[in-house]
Symmetry: C2
Subunit: 476 residues, 2 copies
């Protein structure tokens, strides 16, 4: 089977799908819009989960599990929420061979059912804050789907917290966005822009939504994680109240926040190239592949050296695989592991062995260099750290090179078409202006960034005074 | 809030529900038959997952994720399978506001959808064996539900493997039952009986089903895990074929195997007592709770000593919690942590501190003894190991004391009523005899055990020659 993928320059969208399928990250399920996550993709997701879960728990969050099915009436209790989600619902009407009295919704997100439990569990200020998270599947009916990026069913984590004060809830929403940023930058090597969503992009039912936005390899934006300050909207809809220190009933203040299997798609699109995936070492299921060269007797020494090096690396906590399969040629294996994005390849042939060395090949730069076998195991972790750092630097340089300021709206319209990328420009805050820009250019406000040159100016479209700048882009 | 539970002797079923709710393992969801797994219960499940997942991976199994929704037509492809599962299905008829062309089933188990993918992925003998597992939720419509033991939605893992030969598949089915047995005995401290299911208790679509059966505290049996040799039933229904070494198309041979959140219920019922849960140290979310005694100034030294001991234990990999909350009395805390089944409690009061000691209280035996603070951290892991071993020994002694042989069918009927428990007796292999025994006594064949006195004899009911003995019991 040919493992070649469509070049990015030819058809980026096709390149993405080719890579996801040929690297065996995922496949199409028999049900339209659904996907199967294959073992290599799932191992990547497990590493994403581990990196996030550890960070969540360090902030005091505990995992729990809430039911898949939500009574239809729950979804209707928060008016913005039902408006946002009603068109996307999958509905169970029959169970155990009978028509149900009330149809059940397959959860698109769990604010409603979680509030129905919070309202029972929370009695007094002593029960607050309540900091929960769940890892689960959710379903949102989608017309146009794409593996990992937009599927009818996807996996995610959804955190849900309840607090005594607005300030504490707001701080938690921001803290979880910091956690996402830290994960994206340090584990996924994706330089994200944290900021606030405009009202039109707010989560259905939230007071304020925060986001981390990343630039993909085609210069389009992808929302990689969101965190919402829900105010008391759901608390009021579900009667989630507590007795404060003065014995007064108060509604709780809430947050919710989520990262999904979409993050896998982001990793593919930020780092990958025409040879396939390039995985950041911290997330790579296999960080180092060792390929001994030479068949049977001739290669026995190389295979032995490969195993010894692998044992050494495993003892240092490196995820390593020796590919000593006899039925494939070295060239085939090199292509295969490049397609799968393994950060570092180590080749050991009989001549290398005689010279007491191995050949190291970096997946990111393709750089190929001999290295002495003696002490190699000790040097690999530092090499992987270098590679991790370089991937982040490269992604940041790419993003910065493709982030533009413009002199006026004509410039905006020209630049968004060619060369494309992010445009940082002042916005007056008027949703009508935002809609007009989207209508004219297909670019949306990705966020109002927390950092950068955010002082006042004039709106790029209407010229009215604008309090802050926004990041505009065409987005996934 | 009173934390007292109904005594087991008064109402075992009520005791179980009380413990699950008051120890905050789980709660009822708003949708009938569904449950919410609370943080303490989920932490226990996470430890169960970790113990199983590690063992699966050591046998070469990889995790993946298959879709929640299955086309209704898939379920119908294997005749026994549809017959077994049709009455329990939840059906999605509407998505995105429209009626679906073909209704979708919410997976009750995934043999069908997994075979639809296997038939695409498997081409040649080189692709075999394929050893996959997924951790997910499944839905089976249930009329009479009980937290963890039988709920409409539950969490589980389902392993699915495909092999070139019947022998290899059979060996895999048995291997995974061994893995379950090892986990149950060594991590959950539950002495299970591994064996084969009778045909009437076989999984719908399997050739042979294997099971591990455990005795609960009320002497009833609980099926704690199953592993199935599926033969080629699903392979033929879905056309899952491979080209063998001779370039001939062959159907694969398959297995599937699962353990669910039911295991949490088993842990509760095997070890718990009238004070609440008793958790085996290997699964306990909190293995040691340290309670410093004395408020404010008086207790400062004790609090300090508690923190120092906790740091020491954490460094040794012990899951420890210091309960220094000022708003609760020591007595309240003791009850609370007993309810939650923490294996070991360490009390440190000002007088203990002056004497250079702490008081250790074992949750299983209630045994209370002073121990020198110096070097205590070093001794705790061994103490937890002792406790783990003693829990297993106690459960095994209880099971053995309540496992009976009987002289004749009159004896069978008497013993199953009083004193109850397991009866090991010969069975002729005739399903009619099995059904008659169930009709007469409500006891079913739990398994045909692999080990024990399994030689020939006479059927306990009909007196005809019987090749082997069965374990009979009333079951959950």
């Amino acid at each position: 089977m040919s493992k070649k993928v469509t070049p990015r320059s030819q058809d980026y969208s096709r390149w993405y799908t080719d890579v996801v399928q040929r690297a065996e990250l995922a496949d199409y399920a028999p049900v339209k819009g659904c996907m199967v996550i294959r073992p290599y993709g799932y191992a990547l997701w497990e590493n994403i989960q581990a990196g996030l879960d550890r960070r969540f728990k360090a902030t005091g969050v505990q995992n729990a599990y809430f039911p898949l099915f939500i009574p239809y009436s729950f979804i209707q209790k928060e008016s913005e929420h039902v408006e946002g989600f009603a068109p996307q619902l999958a509905v169970v009407t029959h169970g155990g061979g009978e028509k149900l009295e009330e149809p059940l919704v397959v959860r698109p997100t769990s604010e409603t059912v979680i509030n129905s439990m919070f309202s029972q569990w929370i009695q007094s200020y002593r029960d607050l804050p309540l900091l929960l998270n769940q890892w689960c599947n959710v379903v949102r009916w989608e017309m146009r789907t794409r593996l990992f990026l937009r599927t009818t069913e996807f996996l995610w984590q959804e955190g849900h917290t309840a607090h005594a004060t607005a300030e504490e809830a707001e701080a938690r929403a921001r803290l979880m966005l910091d956690v996402y940023t830290d994960f994206a930058v340090n584990d996924a090597a994706i330089p994200v822009i944290p900021g606030r969503k405009s009202d039109s992009e707010r989560f259905a039912g939230a007071v304020r939504s925060y986001t981390i936005e990343a630039m993909m390899g085609d210069k389009r934006a992808l929302q990689a994680g969101t965190s919402h300050f829900l105010g008391q909207n759901f608390a009021k809809a579900f009667g989630t109240q507590y007795l404060d220190q003065n014995n007064q009933l108060q509604y709780v203040w809430q947050t919710s926040w989520g990262v999904s299997t979409r993050m896998v798609g982001a990793v593919v699109m930020v780092h990958g190239d025409d040879q396939g995936l390039i995985l950041p070492p911290r997330l790579a299921p296999i960080q180092v592949v060792i390929v001994p060269i030479g068949r049977s007797d001739e290669g026995a020494g190389a295979r032995q050296a490969a195993q010894a090096l692998a044992d050494d690396l495993r003892a240092r906590g490196v995820r390593v695989r020796v590919d000593d399969r006899e039925e494939y040629s070295p060239g085939w294996k090199f292509n295969e592991w490049e397609m799968r994005g393994v950060p570092l390849r180590i080749e050991i042939g009989p001549r290398d062995l005689a010279a007491g060395q191995a050949v190291l090949v970096r997946r990111d730069s393709g750089e190929k260099a001999p290295a002495p076998l003696a002490g190699l195991g000790e040097r690999v972790p530092a090499l992987l750290d270098d590679l991790q750092r370089d991937l982040l630097a490269r992604a940041r340089a790419f993003r910065d090179a493709n982030t533009h300021t413009v002199a006026d709206y004509a410039g905006f319209q020209r630049v968004i078409d060619d060369p494309g990328g992010f445009i940082v420009a002042h916005w007056c805050g008027d949703a009508a202006c935002e809609a007009a820009i989207q209508e004219d250019t297909r670019a949306t406000i990705r966020c109002l960034p927390f950092e950068g040159q955010t002082g006042p100016g004039l709106c790029v479209r209407c010229g009215r005074p604008a309090a802050e700048r926004a990041v505009f882009a065409r987005a996934y």
